[in-house]
Amino acid sequence: MTSMASKNIILHYPRKLIEQPVISNLVKKYDLTINISRARIGQDEEGTMVIEISGEADNLDNGLRYLKEIGVTFKLISKVIKRVEKRCTHCSACTVVCPSGALVIEDRSSMEVLFIEEKCTGCGLCIQACPYKAMEMHE
Protein backbone atom coordinates (compact mmCIF):
# COMPACT_ATOMS: atom_id res chain seq x y z
CA MET A 1 0.00 0.00 0.00
CA THR A 2 1.36 3.42 -0.86
CA SER A 3 1.30 6.39 1.46
CA MET A 4 -1.13 9.30 1.19
CA ALA A 5 0.08 12.61 -0.23
CA SER A 6 -1.33 16.08 -0.70
CA LYS A 7 -0.26 19.17 -2.64
CA ASN A 8 -1.57 22.73 -2.97
CA ILE A 9 -1.06 23.76 -6.59
CA ILE A 10 -2.11 26.40 -9.06
CA LEU A 11 -3.11 25.16 -12.51
CA HIS A 12 -2.84 27.13 -15.73
CA TYR A 13 -5.21 25.95 -18.49
CA PRO A 14 -4.54 26.86 -22.06
CA ARG A 15 -7.59 28.15 -23.95
CA LYS A 16 -8.21 24.85 -25.76
CA LEU A 17 -8.72 22.96 -22.48
CA ILE A 18 -11.18 25.31 -20.81
CA GLU A 19 -14.16 23.16 -21.75
CA GLN A 20 -12.50 19.84 -20.87
CA PRO A 21 -13.53 17.95 -17.67
CA VAL A 22 -9.98 17.96 -16.32
CA ILE A 23 -10.87 17.97 -12.63
CA SER A 24 -13.48 15.29 -13.15
CA ASN A 25 -10.86 13.06 -14.78
CA LEU A 26 -8.50 13.52 -11.85
CA VAL A 27 -11.27 12.32 -9.53
CA LYS A 28 -12.62 9.45 -11.66
CA LYS A 29 -9.54 8.09 -13.38
CA TYR A 30 -6.91 8.71 -10.72
CA ASP A 31 -9.03 8.42 -7.55
CA LEU A 32 -7.86 11.80 -6.25
CA THR A 33 -9.64 14.22 -3.93
CA ILE A 34 -9.80 17.79 -5.20
CA ASN A 35 -10.59 20.83 -3.07
CA ILE A 36 -10.98 23.96 -5.24
CA SER A 37 -10.24 27.22 -3.44
CA ARG A 38 -10.20 29.55 -6.45
CA ALA A 39 -10.96 29.34 -10.16
CA ARG A 40 -11.19 31.92 -12.92
CA ILE A 41 -10.93 32.50 -16.64
CA GLY A 42 -8.71 35.49 -17.34
CA GLN A 43 -9.01 38.16 -20.03
CA ASP A 44 -6.53 36.31 -22.18
CA GLU A 45 -8.96 33.40 -21.94
CA GLU A 46 -6.47 31.30 -20.07
CA GLY A 47 -7.85 29.66 -16.96
CA THR A 48 -6.25 29.39 -13.54
CA MET A 49 -7.39 27.22 -10.69
CA VAL A 50 -6.03 26.84 -7.18
CA ILE A 51 -6.62 23.37 -5.77
CA GLU A 52 -5.60 21.06 -3.00
CA ILE A 53 -5.05 17.67 -4.62
CA SER A 54 -4.68 14.59 -2.44
CA GLY A 55 -4.74 10.81 -2.64
CA GLU A 56 -2.36 7.87 -2.68
CA ALA A 57 1.15 8.97 -3.64
CA ASP A 58 1.24 6.88 -6.84
CA ASN A 59 -2.15 8.18 -7.94
CA LEU A 60 -1.05 11.74 -7.23
CA ASP A 61 2.07 11.29 -9.38
CA ASN A 62 0.01 9.78 -12.21
CA GLY A 63 -2.58 12.54 -11.98
CA LEU A 64 0.07 15.24 -12.19
CA ARG A 65 1.61 13.43 -15.16
CA TYR A 66 -1.80 13.41 -16.86
CA LEU A 67 -2.02 17.19 -16.36
CA LYS A 68 1.37 17.68 -17.98
CA GLU A 69 0.48 15.42 -20.92
CA ILE A 70 -2.67 17.32 -21.80
CA GLY A 71 -0.88 20.68 -21.53
CA VAL A 72 -1.98 21.98 -18.13
CA THR A 73 0.97 23.64 -16.42
CA PHE A 74 1.07 23.89 -12.64
CA LYS A 75 3.25 24.94 -9.79
CA LEU A 76 3.18 24.58 -6.03
CA ILE A 77 1.24 27.30 -4.25
CA SER A 78 4.15 27.75 -1.87
CA LYS A 79 5.94 29.22 -4.88
CA VAL A 80 3.05 31.59 -5.70
CA ILE A 81 2.41 33.63 -2.54
CA LYS A 82 5.53 35.35 -1.31
CA ARG A 83 6.23 37.50 1.72
CA VAL A 84 8.53 40.46 1.16
CA GLU A 85 10.36 40.14 4.46
CA LYS A 86 11.58 43.72 4.76
CA ARG A 87 8.03 45.05 4.39
CA CYS A 88 6.54 42.75 7.04
CA THR A 89 6.32 44.48 10.43
CA HIS A 90 5.02 41.41 12.26
CA CYS A 91 1.76 42.98 13.27
CA SER A 92 -0.87 40.27 12.91
CA ALA A 93 -3.50 41.82 10.66
CA CYS A 94 -3.06 38.83 8.30
CA THR A 95 -3.33 36.04 10.84
CA VAL A 96 -7.06 36.63 11.44
CA VAL A 97 -7.92 36.40 7.73
CA CYS A 98 -5.62 33.50 6.75
CA PRO A 99 -7.91 30.44 6.60
CA SER A 100 -5.19 27.80 6.38
CA GLY A 101 -2.97 28.70 9.32
CA ALA A 102 -0.04 29.53 7.02
CA LEU A 103 0.30 32.97 8.57
CA VAL A 104 0.47 32.33 12.27
CA ILE A 105 2.13 33.36 15.51
CA GLU A 106 3.54 30.29 17.24
CA ASP A 107 5.87 31.91 19.76
CA ARG A 108 3.65 34.07 21.95
CA SER A 109 6.60 35.73 23.69
CA SER A 110 8.31 37.08 20.56
CA MET A 111 4.94 37.55 18.73
CA GLU A 112 6.73 37.00 15.41
CA VAL A 113 4.39 36.17 12.52
CA LEU A 114 5.50 33.05 10.65
CA PHE A 115 4.70 32.32 7.01
CA ILE A 116 4.56 28.54 6.68
CA GLU A 117 4.61 28.19 2.89
CA GLU A 118 3.60 24.51 2.86
CA LYS A 119 0.30 25.36 4.56
CA CYS A 120 -0.57 28.19 2.13
CA THR A 121 -3.56 27.43 -0.11
CA GLY A 122 -3.05 30.51 -2.26
CA CYS A 123 -6.40 32.14 -1.51
CA GLY A 124 -4.76 35.59 -1.53
CA LEU A 125 -6.80 37.05 1.36
CA CYS A 126 -3.59 38.13 3.06
CA ILE A 127 -2.57 40.32 0.14
CA GLN A 128 -5.30 42.88 0.67
CA ALA A 129 -5.32 42.49 4.45
CA CYS A 130 -1.65 43.47 4.83
CA PRO A 131 -1.37 47.22 5.52
CA TYR A 132 2.27 47.21 4.36
CA LYS A 133 1.85 45.30 1.06
CA ALA A 134 4.21 42.63 2.32
CA MET A 135 2.31 39.73 0.67
CA GLU A 136 2.57 39.28 -3.09
CA MET A 137 1.19 36.82 -5.62
CA HIS A 138 3.37 35.58 -8.47
CA GLU A 139 1.13 33.35 -10.56
Partner: protein, 403 residues
Protein backbone atom coordinates in the same frame (compact mmCIF):
# COMPACT_ATOMS: atom_id res chain seq x y z
CA UNK B 1 15.41 57.60 47.67
CA UNK B 2 14.74 59.89 44.75
CA UNK B 3 16.95 60.55 41.71
CA UNK B 4 16.92 63.70 39.62
CA UNK B 5 16.97 63.69 35.81
CA UNK B 6 20.32 65.50 36.05
CA UNK B 7 21.78 62.71 38.22
CA UNK B 8 20.58 60.14 35.70
CA UNK B 9 22.04 62.17 32.81
CA UNK B 10 25.40 62.35 34.59
CA UNK B 11 25.46 58.54 34.69
CA UNK B 12 24.44 58.40 30.99
CA UNK B 13 27.30 60.76 30.07
CA UNK B 14 29.73 58.49 31.95
CA UNK B 15 28.16 55.47 30.22
CA UNK B 16 27.32 54.03 33.62
CA UNK B 17 23.54 54.26 33.47
CA UNK B 18 21.58 51.08 34.06
CA UNK B 19 18.96 50.88 31.28
CA UNK B 20 16.37 48.13 30.85
CA UNK B 21 13.43 47.70 28.50
CA UNK B 22 9.85 47.63 29.78
CA UNK B 23 9.93 43.84 29.40
CA UNK B 24 13.29 43.27 31.07
CA UNK B 25 12.31 45.24 34.17
CA UNK B 26 9.41 42.88 35.03
CA UNK B 27 11.37 39.79 36.24
CA UNK B 28 13.91 42.04 37.98
CA UNK B 29 11.17 43.70 40.06
CA UNK B 30 9.68 40.31 40.89
CA UNK B 31 13.10 39.16 42.08
CA UNK B 32 14.36 42.23 43.95
CA UNK B 33 11.37 44.42 44.80
CA UNK B 34 10.68 48.11 44.22
CA UNK B 35 13.25 49.63 46.59
CA UNK B 36 16.23 47.67 45.32
CA UNK B 37 15.29 48.18 41.65
CA UNK B 38 14.75 51.94 42.18
CA UNK B 39 18.33 52.10 43.44
CA UNK B 40 19.83 49.98 40.64
CA UNK B 41 17.92 51.03 37.52
CA UNK B 42 18.06 54.52 35.97
CA UNK B 43 15.94 54.31 32.83
CA UNK B 44 13.29 52.00 31.37
CA UNK B 45 12.71 52.19 27.64
CA UNK B 46 9.29 51.69 26.03
CA UNK B 47 8.24 51.34 22.40
CA UNK B 48 5.29 51.16 20.05
CA UNK B 49 4.82 50.75 16.30
CA UNK B 50 1.35 51.10 14.85
CA UNK B 51 -0.72 52.93 12.24
CA UNK B 52 -1.37 56.45 13.56
CA UNK B 53 -3.75 58.40 11.35
CA UNK B 54 -3.24 61.72 13.09
CA UNK B 55 0.20 62.08 11.53
CA UNK B 56 1.65 64.41 8.94
CA UNK B 57 4.55 66.66 8.08
CA UNK B 58 5.35 70.33 7.58
CA UNK B 59 7.61 70.83 4.57
CA UNK B 60 9.46 73.90 3.31
CA UNK B 61 10.60 73.57 -0.32
CA UNK B 62 12.56 76.81 -0.60
CA UNK B 63 11.52 79.41 -3.18
CA UNK B 64 11.10 78.72 -6.87
CA UNK B 65 12.35 81.28 -9.41
CA UNK B 66 10.27 83.35 -9.93
CA UNK B 67 8.67 83.08 -6.53
CA UNK B 68 5.31 81.46 -5.92
CA UNK B 69 2.73 81.69 -3.14
CA UNK B 70 1.73 78.01 -3.25
CA UNK B 71 -2.03 77.80 -2.80
CA UNK B 72 -2.77 74.25 -3.94
CA UNK B 73 -0.09 71.57 -3.92
CA UNK B 74 0.15 67.87 -4.76
CA UNK B 75 2.98 65.51 -3.84
CA UNK B 76 2.92 62.38 -6.04
CA UNK B 77 -0.69 63.32 -6.76
CA UNK B 78 -1.66 63.59 -3.08
CA UNK B 79 -2.96 67.01 -2.01
CA UNK B 80 -0.94 68.89 0.61
CA UNK B 81 -2.41 71.87 2.45
CA UNK B 82 -0.97 75.14 1.14
CA UNK B 83 -2.82 77.70 3.24
CA UNK B 84 0.43 78.75 4.89
CA UNK B 85 3.32 81.00 3.87
CA UNK B 86 4.63 80.84 0.29
CA UNK B 87 6.52 77.55 0.12
CA UNK B 88 5.33 75.81 3.29
CA UNK B 89 2.83 72.94 3.09
CA UNK B 90 1.38 70.33 5.45
CA UNK B 91 0.92 66.82 4.11
CA UNK B 92 -1.49 64.65 6.10
CA UNK B 93 -1.12 60.87 6.41
CA UNK B 94 -4.69 60.01 5.43
CA UNK B 95 -4.94 62.25 2.34
CA UNK B 96 -5.52 60.26 -0.87
CA UNK B 97 -5.02 61.23 -4.53
CA UNK B 98 -7.87 63.31 -6.00
CA UNK B 99 -8.56 60.54 -8.52
CA UNK B 100 -8.42 57.63 -6.07
CA UNK B 101 -11.67 55.64 -6.39
CA UNK B 102 -11.77 55.44 -2.57
CA UNK B 103 -14.64 53.14 -1.56
CA UNK B 104 -16.62 53.49 -4.81
CA UNK B 105 -15.66 49.89 -5.45
CA UNK B 106 -15.92 48.56 -1.92
CA UNK B 107 -13.63 47.71 -0.24
CA UNK B 108 -11.22 50.29 -1.66
CA UNK B 109 -7.51 49.51 -1.62
CA UNK B 110 -6.02 52.93 -0.81
CA UNK B 111 -2.68 51.79 -2.13
CA UNK B 112 -1.07 55.25 -1.96
CA UNK B 113 -1.69 58.28 0.24
CA UNK B 114 -0.07 60.98 2.37
CA UNK B 115 1.61 58.41 4.62
CA UNK B 116 3.30 56.86 1.59
CA UNK B 117 4.52 60.32 0.46
CA UNK B 118 6.15 60.78 3.88
CA UNK B 119 7.71 57.30 3.68
CA UNK B 120 9.00 57.99 0.14
CA UNK B 121 10.60 61.27 1.27
CA UNK B 122 12.28 59.59 4.26
CA UNK B 123 13.51 56.76 2.00
CA UNK B 124 15.26 59.45 -0.12
CA UNK B 125 13.04 58.90 -3.17
CA UNK B 126 12.15 61.69 -5.59
CA UNK B 127 8.60 62.94 -5.13
CA UNK B 128 6.79 64.97 -7.78
CA UNK B 129 5.51 68.41 -6.74
CA UNK B 130 2.77 70.19 -8.62
CA UNK B 131 1.40 73.51 -7.39
CA UNK B 132 -1.06 76.21 -8.41
CA UNK B 133 -1.51 79.80 -7.30
CA UNK B 134 -3.34 83.00 -8.26
CA UNK B 135 -0.17 85.12 -8.55
CA UNK B 136 0.70 88.33 -6.72
CA UNK B 137 3.14 91.18 -7.36
CA UNK B 138 5.61 89.63 -4.91
CA UNK B 139 4.86 86.01 -5.85
CA UNK B 140 4.10 86.05 -9.60
CA UNK B 141 4.36 82.34 -10.49
CA UNK B 142 1.02 80.61 -11.00
CA UNK B 143 2.03 77.06 -11.88
CA UNK B 144 4.86 74.78 -10.83
CA UNK B 145 5.94 71.26 -11.71
CA UNK B 146 9.14 69.76 -10.36
CA UNK B 147 10.39 66.92 -8.22
CA UNK B 148 11.69 67.21 -4.68
CA UNK B 149 13.88 65.12 -2.37
CA UNK B 150 14.08 65.27 1.42
CA UNK B 151 17.73 66.35 1.33
CA UNK B 152 16.84 69.41 -0.78
CA UNK B 153 14.13 70.68 1.56
CA UNK B 154 14.96 73.38 4.09
CA UNK B 155 12.81 71.83 6.80
CA UNK B 156 10.75 68.66 7.00
CA UNK B 157 9.15 68.04 10.40
CA UNK B 158 6.99 65.07 11.11
CA UNK B 159 4.24 66.74 13.16
CA UNK B 160 1.64 64.46 14.64
CA UNK B 161 -1.27 65.99 16.57
CA UNK B 162 -2.16 62.70 18.22
CA UNK B 163 0.01 59.64 18.84
CA UNK B 164 0.95 57.06 21.43
CA UNK B 165 -2.62 56.48 22.67
CA UNK B 166 -2.65 55.32 26.26
CA UNK B 167 -4.68 52.14 25.77
CA UNK B 168 -7.17 51.54 22.96
CA UNK B 169 -10.30 49.69 21.89
CA UNK B 170 -10.44 46.07 20.84
CA UNK B 171 -12.69 45.94 17.77
CA UNK B 172 -15.22 43.20 17.05
CA UNK B 173 -18.03 42.89 14.51
CA UNK B 174 -21.43 41.74 15.79
CA UNK B 175 -23.12 42.08 12.38
CA UNK B 176 -23.63 39.41 9.71
CA UNK B 177 -21.30 40.93 7.10
CA UNK B 178 -17.54 41.51 6.87
CA UNK B 179 -16.59 45.07 7.82
CA UNK B 180 -13.44 47.02 6.96
CA UNK B 181 -12.16 49.38 9.65
CA UNK B 182 -9.06 51.25 10.76
CA UNK B 183 -8.57 48.29 13.09
CA UNK B 184 -8.45 45.93 10.13
CA UNK B 185 -10.83 43.41 8.59
CA UNK B 186 -13.46 42.25 11.06
CA UNK B 187 -15.20 38.97 10.31
CA UNK B 188 -18.97 38.69 10.96
CA UNK B 189 -20.49 37.43 14.20
CA UNK B 190 -17.39 38.20 16.21
CA UNK B 191 -15.13 36.13 13.94
CA UNK B 192 -12.09 37.97 15.25
CA UNK B 193 -11.05 40.69 17.70
CA UNK B 194 -8.42 43.22 16.63
CA UNK B 195 -6.40 45.41 18.98
CA UNK B 196 -3.69 48.02 18.58
CA UNK B 197 -1.45 48.60 21.56
CA UNK B 198 1.96 47.34 22.58
CA UNK B 199 0.53 46.58 26.05
CA UNK B 200 3.32 46.35 28.60
CA UNK B 201 5.71 48.02 26.12
CA UNK B 202 3.40 50.96 25.38
CA UNK B 203 4.92 54.29 26.48
CA UNK B 204 1.97 55.87 28.29
CA UNK B 205 0.90 52.62 29.97
CA UNK B 206 4.28 52.68 31.74
CA UNK B 207 3.71 56.16 33.15
CA UNK B 208 -0.06 56.14 33.73
CA UNK B 209 -0.26 59.54 35.46
CA UNK B 210 2.31 61.12 33.08
CA UNK B 211 4.59 61.96 35.98
CA UNK B 212 7.72 62.01 33.79
CA UNK B 213 6.28 62.51 30.27
CA UNK B 214 5.23 66.05 29.37
CA UNK B 215 5.96 68.98 27.10
CA UNK B 216 9.61 68.87 26.07
CA UNK B 217 10.16 65.15 26.65
CA UNK B 218 12.77 63.86 24.23
CA UNK B 219 11.86 60.59 22.50
CA UNK B 220 12.74 58.12 19.75
CA UNK B 221 10.57 59.11 16.79
CA UNK B 222 10.68 57.21 13.52
CA UNK B 223 14.29 56.17 13.99
CA UNK B 224 15.41 59.69 14.85
CA UNK B 225 15.00 62.08 17.76
CA UNK B 226 11.72 63.85 18.43
CA UNK B 227 9.92 65.70 21.19
CA UNK B 228 6.53 65.88 22.86
CA UNK B 229 5.23 69.38 22.09
CA UNK B 230 1.73 69.34 23.58
CA UNK B 231 -1.01 67.05 24.81
CA UNK B 232 -2.34 65.04 21.89
CA UNK B 233 -5.79 65.72 20.48
CA UNK B 234 -8.53 63.81 22.34
CA UNK B 235 -6.25 63.63 25.42
CA UNK B 236 -8.55 62.37 28.13
CA UNK B 237 -7.02 61.82 31.57
CA UNK B 238 -10.34 61.29 33.39
CA UNK B 239 -11.31 57.81 32.13
CA UNK B 240 -11.85 54.92 34.61
CA UNK B 241 -8.61 53.44 35.92
CA UNK B 242 -7.51 50.16 37.48
CA UNK B 243 -6.36 49.98 41.11
CA UNK B 244 -2.81 50.48 39.88
CA UNK B 245 -3.84 53.72 38.17
CA UNK B 246 -3.72 52.42 34.59
CA UNK B 247 -6.51 53.68 32.30
CA UNK B 248 -9.03 51.00 31.30
CA UNK B 249 -9.85 52.78 28.01
CA UNK B 250 -8.22 55.12 25.49
CA UNK B 251 -6.90 58.00 27.64
CA UNK B 252 -3.78 60.14 27.34
CA UNK B 253 -2.28 61.07 23.96
CA UNK B 254 0.79 63.03 22.81
CA UNK B 255 1.52 65.60 20.12
CA UNK B 256 4.90 64.74 18.65
CA UNK B 257 7.35 66.36 16.30
CA UNK B 258 10.78 65.53 14.92
CA UNK B 259 13.18 66.12 12.03
CA UNK B 260 12.36 63.75 9.15
CA UNK B 261 15.95 64.02 7.96
CA UNK B 262 17.03 61.94 11.00
CA UNK B 263 14.36 59.26 10.45
CA UNK B 264 14.38 55.86 8.75
CA UNK B 265 11.78 54.22 6.55
CA UNK B 266 12.08 51.15 8.74
CA UNK B 267 10.19 53.02 11.47
CA UNK B 268 8.00 55.30 9.30
CA UNK B 269 5.83 53.43 6.80
CA UNK B 270 2.87 54.23 4.60
CA UNK B 271 -0.17 52.15 5.45
CA UNK B 272 -3.06 50.93 3.23
CA UNK B 273 -6.08 49.75 5.19
CA UNK B 274 -8.50 47.84 2.96
CA UNK B 275 -11.87 49.60 2.77
CA UNK B 276 -10.75 52.30 5.20
CA UNK B 277 -7.95 54.47 3.84
CA UNK B 278 -4.31 55.44 3.86
CA UNK B 279 -2.34 56.13 7.02
CA UNK B 280 1.15 56.17 8.48
CA UNK B 281 2.78 53.70 10.84
CA UNK B 282 5.06 55.47 13.28
CA UNK B 283 7.69 54.01 15.59
CA UNK B 284 7.85 55.73 18.97
CA UNK B 285 10.08 55.04 21.95
CA UNK B 286 9.86 56.94 25.21
CA UNK B 287 12.48 56.69 27.97
CA UNK B 288 11.04 56.59 31.49
CA UNK B 289 13.45 57.91 34.14
CA UNK B 290 13.33 55.85 37.34
CA UNK B 291 13.22 58.80 39.70
CA UNK B 292 11.73 56.87 42.63
CA UNK B 293 10.05 53.65 43.78
CA UNK B 294 6.67 54.74 42.49
CA UNK B 295 8.03 54.81 38.91
CA UNK B 296 9.38 51.26 39.39
CA UNK B 297 5.87 50.22 40.35
CA UNK B 298 4.47 51.85 37.20
CA UNK B 299 7.03 50.48 34.71
CA UNK B 300 6.75 46.94 36.07
CA UNK B 301 3.16 46.73 34.82
CA UNK B 302 2.50 43.47 32.97
CA UNK B 303 0.16 42.46 30.15
CA UNK B 304 -1.98 40.48 32.60
CA UNK B 305 -2.62 43.67 34.57
CA UNK B 306 -3.59 45.81 31.57
CA UNK B 307 -7.17 45.74 30.27
CA UNK B 308 -8.69 46.99 27.01
CA UNK B 309 -12.37 47.60 26.24
CA UNK B 310 -14.07 45.48 23.55
CA UNK B 311 -16.31 47.56 21.26
CA UNK B 312 -18.64 46.59 18.39
CA UNK B 313 -17.45 48.36 15.22
CA UNK B 314 -20.53 47.38 13.18
CA UNK B 315 -22.94 49.51 15.23
CA UNK B 316 -21.91 50.94 18.60
CA UNK B 317 -18.71 52.61 17.35
CA UNK B 318 -19.93 54.11 14.02
CA UNK B 319 -23.15 55.37 15.59
CA UNK B 320 -21.39 56.83 18.64
CA UNK B 321 -23.53 54.73 20.91
CA UNK B 322 -20.77 53.76 23.31
CA UNK B 323 -21.20 50.43 25.00
CA UNK B 324 -18.33 48.27 26.12
CA UNK B 325 -19.04 44.58 25.52
CA UNK B 326 -16.25 43.28 27.74
CA UNK B 327 -12.82 44.08 29.11
CA UNK B 328 -9.96 41.75 28.19
CA UNK B 329 -6.33 41.72 29.30
CA UNK B 330 -3.40 42.21 26.96
CA UNK B 331 -2.02 38.83 28.03
CA UNK B 332 -5.26 37.24 26.76
CA UNK B 333 -5.10 39.32 23.55
CA UNK B 334 -1.51 38.25 22.96
CA UNK B 335 -2.32 34.58 23.62
CA UNK B 336 -4.15 34.43 20.26
CA UNK B 337 -7.73 34.24 21.54
CA UNK B 338 -9.98 35.96 24.06
CA UNK B 339 -13.22 34.95 25.70
CA UNK B 340 -16.05 37.37 24.91
CA UNK B 341 -19.64 36.62 25.92
CA UNK B 342 -18.57 33.06 26.61
CA UNK B 343 -17.13 32.59 23.12
CA UNK B 344 -13.53 32.02 22.09
CA UNK B 345 -12.55 34.71 19.58
CA UNK B 346 -9.21 34.77 17.74
CA UNK B 347 -7.19 37.98 18.02
CA UNK B 348 -5.08 40.04 15.63
CA UNK B 349 -2.97 43.10 16.34
CA UNK B 350 -2.42 46.17 14.20
CA UNK B 351 0.40 47.20 16.52
CA UNK B 352 3.64 45.28 15.97
CA UNK B 353 5.02 43.82 19.19
CA UNK B 354 8.37 42.76 17.61
CA UNK B 355 8.86 46.33 16.33
CA UNK B 356 7.98 47.76 19.77
CA UNK B 357 10.67 45.52 21.28
CA UNK B 358 13.18 46.57 18.61
CA UNK B 359 12.49 50.26 19.25
CA UNK B 360 12.81 49.93 23.03
CA UNK B 361 16.09 48.03 22.56
CA UNK B 362 17.41 50.62 20.09
CA UNK B 363 16.62 53.46 22.48
CA UNK B 364 18.26 51.48 25.28
CA UNK B 365 21.46 51.20 23.21
CA UNK B 366 21.45 54.94 22.43
CA UNK B 367 21.22 55.74 26.14
CA UNK B 368 23.83 53.15 27.15
CA UNK B 369 26.28 54.60 24.64
CA UNK B 370 25.78 58.07 26.09
CA UNK B 371 24.24 59.37 22.84
CA UNK B 372 20.77 60.13 24.20
CA UNK B 373 20.27 62.26 27.32
CA UNK B 374 16.92 62.55 29.05
CA UNK B 375 14.99 65.79 29.34
CA UNK B 376 13.07 67.28 32.24
CA UNK B 377 9.55 68.10 31.05
CA UNK B 378 8.95 71.86 30.95
CA UNK B 379 5.22 71.57 31.64
CA UNK B 380 2.85 68.77 32.60
CA UNK B 381 -0.02 67.58 30.45
CA UNK B 382 -3.58 67.88 31.83
CA UNK B 383 -4.02 65.27 34.56
CA UNK B 384 -6.94 63.57 36.32
CA UNK B 385 -7.60 66.65 38.45
CA UNK B 386 -7.98 68.84 35.34
CA UNK B 387 -11.47 67.47 34.79
CA UNK B 388 -10.66 67.39 31.07
CA UNK B 389 -12.75 64.90 29.08
CA UNK B 390 -13.07 63.85 25.43
CA UNK B 391 -16.28 65.54 24.33
CA UNK B 392 -18.49 64.64 21.38
CA UNK B 393 -19.32 67.21 18.69
CA UNK B 394 -21.91 69.93 19.25
CA UNK B 395 -24.63 69.25 16.67
CA UNK B 396 -26.60 72.41 15.90
CA UNK B 397 -28.85 70.73 13.35
CA UNK B 398 -30.56 67.55 14.45
CA UNK B 399 -30.35 65.03 11.60
CA UNK B 400 -33.70 63.45 12.36
CA UNK B 401 -35.48 66.82 12.44
CA UNK B 402 -33.81 68.13 9.29
CA UNK B 403 -34.60 65.11 7.10
Amino acid sequence: MAKSIEEINEKIRKKKACVLTAEEIIPLVEEKGYTEVAREVDVVTTGTFSPMCSSGAFLNFGHSKPRMKIQKAWLNGVAAYGGLAACDVYIGATEIPDDDPANKIHPGRFSYGGGHVIEDLIAGREVSLKALSYGTDCYPRRELETSVRLADLNQAYLTNPRNAYQNYNVAVNLSNRVIYTYLGILQPKMGNANYSSAGQFSPLLNDPYLRTIGIGTKIFLGGGVGYVFWEGTQHNPTVPRSEGGVPLEGAGTLSLTGDMKTMSNRYIRGVSMLGYGASLAVGIGVPIPIIDEEMVKFVSVRDDGLYAPVVDYSDAYPNLEGGIIARVSYSELKSGSVSIRGRKVSTGSLSSYPMAVEIAETLKKWIEKGKFLLTQKVASLPDMDSGQTFKSMRMTVDDEVST
